[in-house]
């Protein structure tokens, strides 16, 4: 089968354009986010790991190592099946600190730009053979399809194409900003294509090569040596080393790091990939053996690795050949694109930017774009150079092994990030260099210099891998233990070590507003870039330009560092942020940002168990006590930042905790600011009865404070102040009400005494008047005496009412249960009300049924009526009229008090029976009258209704309706019963 070179190049171009088209429409948002962010897309994009190695090399490995060829799939599957041990914590770190590559991670953990630079250099040297392997596989397979074409030309053409497309992929606006949706979608597509192509070739091999699965089994029985070799995996063979290589590659290879951590959309996606990716590799491993056996049966003389492409030719199916080629192209191009983008970012952040940074005058984005383009070109063409220099006899398996063994050197450093806080940069760099040196001498050099003296030493790659790893580990541990570890490294180790959280400092910042952030960052970045970055970070955090809360500004600083880290790498970003947005106070030990720590613990909650979970529960319990305390609790840091603002305080002040926590106390609004500041300035820790006005109402509070002391070594330092705010407004009103009641009771007692004292002379006057009337026959004198008697009777009645009312206010445990005439009570209440001069201008209209009787305490009913009538009087205008009615309605007595006053506003209608609620001026009323009325009416088994306004007119007066059970004498009841019987008989 012979294809034209142009056909092959055209096929490659169309395929790469298709990939770019998918990335383009994804970045444009034409594919719904639901699909783009689906875990299946993530799993498929991770399929980039199934490169030429899984597609072509595994067929050769299957022939040599039997089931050992599965080491590739098993290694990567184990890394994902046990993702909580390695991948999950690293994902959390990379997402929190915007670490986009292994070099970023190493530089971050070992607090040294050198660690990042060393990682990048080793990665560059180690991974170049892997790029060369892809170029070699594509040019080899293209040569099989088009034997007349020169392999060098094919490789060159492929490199030109892939360079152009990688630049397109890698320098789009989204990619520069660290957004990878388009690329991830394209890579997921290419993974799907290669999987389907490989499965199709496998199915073709079984059915076209052998005629079905049964016939394949029969053929295998005739080839027992094949089955024997298949199952012969020696205990200490390369299988185990390969498994370790591919396990570590999940993090150590730049393309896997790029996809696993940058293309991830959350822990859920990783959990899905933890079994999804092993399934992908299981499926892609499945067709390897049928393809191998079909190729062997066909007697193909082509290199075993390329059987997937060859069997189509061998069995006369050109479509399968093209499909297999596209699958291989997919595997190679996907890996080259991702690995190049990852390496170019690493080179930019760790090789170029530490040496040269753009000035503030430059357009930083444009500068970065061109540097990235140049690096992409350099990385791909270094792979081409490696391929060009390589002896054609060198197997593609060896090339791949060399690359994976180089990346294995990062494995000790990666494990130490999570599990060994004592590790330091000196140990890491020493181990890495030593391991790489062994790799270079015994693996890399011999493939270029056959006559090297070292090549005489008989050592296979498996032993080289083991030796380099042992030396690496030994030096790493030994140097780390013997050398000093800096405080920065310890701090980073704490952050990276499992089960710890970031100890963010709670110091103030020199820049006090987002505008000052822009001014400060304009120096290194230029005004335009600084404005764009600060605006972007504010948008991400939903912070406005006028926000000056220290807590928000610290978050903004962190976000800016993370965003710049994505753009310039963590080392440069950290340098810029530390240099231009410094903290104003050098934070002391222990002054951690409690809010941030709490948020982190909250997010980590589901991962706590055992004692940690118990401690967390205890912490929550204590915190909840403070939050739910019915006293206002406000905790301030030593620099007057509000750390806690509990629920009671939120309710009292109307200021939400979320709005104020993290602010300076100076950001509080009045009257709270003056109240707290004045109290903090006082020497006394307790201050009572602070009165202030809030929303037109007088509030009263007691204040208490205590300094929070914290042990810091041998010294004790003030960590802050806790202030308790006790709202005593209601207690004050209650006290005022009680005082008022007490005064009223005194007046009552006084009135009773006065009434008693006046009663005696009045009685004397009445007696004398009666004597004059009865003993003198003069008519005029008799009339005068009679008038005196009437006036003294009236005076006695008034005095008796006063005495009765005064006695009603005294404490009684037992009330009378007598027959009460409602009319008499109304009359008496009217008399009492009339005594007040305020009642003089009003006219009372009484319409009462004398048969209206209830069972109860007359004095209490009088008290109800006095309160209601006095309210009606207070609400009435001068010259107004008050209607008093009492009627019998069935078995109820209905009393209505109707005024023509101002009425009751609808807004307060629901509250008029609340104790201490009053609309009267201070000192005029206690707010207890109607609540007392309500209470007495309930005691008398009645109910009360208030209608205001009466009718449709606004402010047309108020009508109070009281209903009580009617008292009926026994004869009345009998008559009623007879009436009912008659009525029922008539009904029957």
């Amino acid at each position: 089968m012979d294809y034209e070179l142009t056909t092959i190049i055209g096929l490659g171009s169309i395929y790469l354009m298709l990939l770019f088209g998918i990335a383009f429409i994804t970045e444009r948002g034409w594919i719904p986010d639901k699909i783009v962010h689906h875990p299946v897309v993530y799993v498929l994009s991770l399929g980039v790991f199934a490169s030429v190695w899984a597609y072509y090399t595994s067929v050769g490995n299957a022939q040599r190592d039997g089931y050992g060829y599965l080491a590739n799939s098993i290694g990567i599957s184990l890394a994902f099946l046990f993702s909580p041990l390695l991948l999950k914590p690293i994902l959390a770190l990379t997402r929190t600190y915007q670490l986009s590559s292994l070099a970023d991670l190493m530089a971050f953990r070992y607090r040294s730009p050198w660690a990042g630079t060393a990682t990048t250099l080793v990665m560059l040297v180690g991974v170049t053979p892997l790029i060369a392997l892809q170029i070699r596989a594509i040019s080899d397979t293209a040569e099989i399809l088009s034997p007349n074409a020169s392999q060098g030309t094919l490789a060159f053409g492929f490199c030109v194409l892939i360079t152009l497309f990688t630049i397109l992929f890698g320098t789009s606006r989204g990619a520069v900003r660290g957004r990878h949706d388009g690329l991830m979608m394209a890579i997921a597509f290419e993974s799907l294509v290669k999987l389907l192509a490989f499965l199709a070739v496998g199915v073709f091999a079984i059915y076209s090569g052998f005629g079905g699965l049964d016939k394949l089994n029969l053929w295998l029985q005739e080839q027992p040596e094949l089955l024997f070799e298949l199952k012969e995996v020696a205990l200490f063979s390369s299988f185990h080393v390969f498994t370790l290589l591919f396990f570590s590659a999940a993090v150590a290879m730049p393309h896997m790091f790029y996809v696993t951590f940058n293309g991830n959309h959350g822990q859920r996606a990783l959990a899905f990939a933890s079994w999804g990716l092993p399934l992908y590799f299981l499926l892609i491993s499945l067709p390897v053996l049928p393809i191998l056996w079909a190729g062997l049966q066909a007697g193909s003389e082509v290199q075993v690795e390329y059987f997937p492409v060859v069997i189509g030719v061998a069995y006369g199916a050109p479509l399968i050949t093209v499909l297999a080629y596209v699958g291989g192209l997919s595997a190679a191009s996907g890996l080259i694109i991702v690995i190049t983008l990852a390496l170019s970012n690493m080179c930019l952040n760790h090789l170029i930017l530490p040496i040269y940074q753009p000035t503030a005058k430059d357009d930083i984005y444009r500068w970065l774009l061109w540097k990235r383009r140049a690096l992409i070109t350099a990385v791909i063409w270094s792979g081409f150079l490696f391929h060009y220099l390589l002896d054609q006899r060198t197997s593609i398996e060896l090339i791949g092994t060399i690359a994976f063994t180089a990346c294995l050197q990062f494995f000790p450093g990666i494990i130490a990030i999570l599990y060994w806080p004592q590790a330091n940069k000196k140990g890491f760099v020493s181990g890495l260099i030593a391991g790489l040196l062994i790799w270079f001498i015994f693996l890399m050099l011999p493939i270029f210099i056959e006559s090297s003296p070292l090549s005489l030493i008989s050592i296979n790659w498996r032993e080289v891998a083991a030796l380099s790893l042992i030396v690496n580990c030994f030096l790493f541990v030994a140097v780390s233990l013997w050398s000093t570890t800096t405080d920065e490294e310890r701090s980073s180790a704490d952050i990276c070590a499992l089960d710890t959280i970031k100890r963010r400092k709670r110091s103030g910042l020199v820049a006090k507003s987002p505008n000052e952030f822009i001014t400060s960052l304009s120096k290194p970045l230029g005004k335009k870039t600084a404005t764009r970055e600060v605006t972007q970070a504010m948008k991400d955090l939903n912070i406005t330009m006028d926000n000056r809360r220290p807590y928000d500004l610290r978050l903004l600083r962190g976000k800016l560092e993370a965003n710049l880290s994505g753009l310039l790498g963590p080392s440069i970003a950290g340098k810029i942020i530390d240099g231009y947005l410094p903290y104003s106070i050098v934070s002391r030990h222990g002054s951690s940002d409690l809010n941030v720590i709490e948020n982190r613990i909250e997010a980590y909650r589901s991962n706590l168990s055992g004692m940690a979970a118990d401690l967390d529960n205890l912490r929550r319990y204590h915190r909840q006590i403070l939050l739910d305390l019915p006293l206002g609790v406000c905790s301030l840091s030593s620099d007057n930042e509000i750390v806690m603002w509990n629920h009671a305080l939120t309710e009292f002040t109307g200021i939400k905790s979320a709005d104020i926590v993290g602010s300076q106390i100076a950001d509080l609004k009045e009257p709270w600011l003056s109240l707290l500041l004045n109290f903090m300035d006082e020497d006394a820790n307790h201050s009572y009865k602070h009165n202030f006005e809030l929303n037109g109402q007088i509030k009263s509070v007691n204040l208490h404070k205590a300094e929070i002391e914290k042990s810091a070594g041998q010294d004790y330092s003030h960590e802050g102040v806790i202030i308790l705010i006790e709202d005593i407004t209601e207690t004050e009103i209650l006290e005022a009400g009680l005082n008022h009641s007490e005064r009223l009771a005194s007046i009552g007692r006084l009135a009773a005494g006065v009434a008693h004292e006046i009663g005696n002379p009045i009685t004397g006057i009445a007696c004398l008047a009666q004597t004059i009337r009865d003993e003198y026959e003069v008519d005029g004198l008799k009339n005068l005496a009679q008038q005196i008697i009437e006036q003294t009777n009236r005076t006695s009645k008034i005095l008796q009412s006063l005495v009765n009312f005064a006695h009603a206010g005294t404490n009684k445990s037992h009330y009378e249960n007598e027959i009460v005439s409602v009319v008499d009570c109304i009359n008496e209440a009217q008399v009492l009300i009339s005594l007040d001069k305020k009642s003089k201008d009003l006219s009372f209209q009484l319409d009462a049924d004398p048969t209206a009787m209830i069972l109860g305490d007359s004095q209490r009913l009088i008290q109800v009526l006095v309160n209601l009538i006095s309210n009606a009087r207070d609400a009435s205008r001068s010259g107004g009229k008050i209607n008093l009615q009492a009627s019998v309605e069935g078995d109820q007595v209905r009393i209505t008090i109707t005024d023509e006053g101002v009425g009751i506003p609808a807004a307060i209608k629901d509250r008029i029976f609340d104790p201490f609620f009053t609309t009267k001026e201070a000192g005029e009323g206690t707010g207890l009258g109607l609540s007392l009325v309500f209470s007495i009416v309930e005691d008398l088994h009645g109910d009360i209704d208030i209608i205001s306004p009466i009718g449709s007119a606004k402010s047309a007066g108020t009508q109070v309706i009281l209903r009580f059970p009617r008292y009926q004498s026994e004869p009345e009841l009998e008559i009623d019963d007879q009436d009912q019987e008659t009525s029922s008989q008539q009904t029957v």
């Binding site: 099946l81 295998l220 089955l227 298949l230 933890s274 079994w275 299981l282 491993s285 053996l289 706590l608």
Partner: protein, 58 residues
């Protein structure tokens, strides 16, 4: 260090499966795809271990 319980169970399942299936896979005349069957069982166990759980389930 916190190791989720399902992960430990997965580890035990993998170990037991490999222990039990080693002879079965290498049996003379056994089907060539037997290791893939075991692999599928391990992945199914992995799917169980990494299933979505309530946030408070530890």
């Amino acid at each position: 260090m916190y190791i989720p319980r399902p992960l430990l169970i997965l580890l035990v399942i993998i170990y037991l499966l490999l222990l039990l299936s080693a002879d079965w896979i290498n049996q003379a005349g056994g089907a060539w795809y037997r290791p893939f069957f075991v692999g599928f069982l391990i992945i199914a166990a992995g799917g169980w271990a990494h299933r979505e759980r309530d946030s408070d389930e530890l």
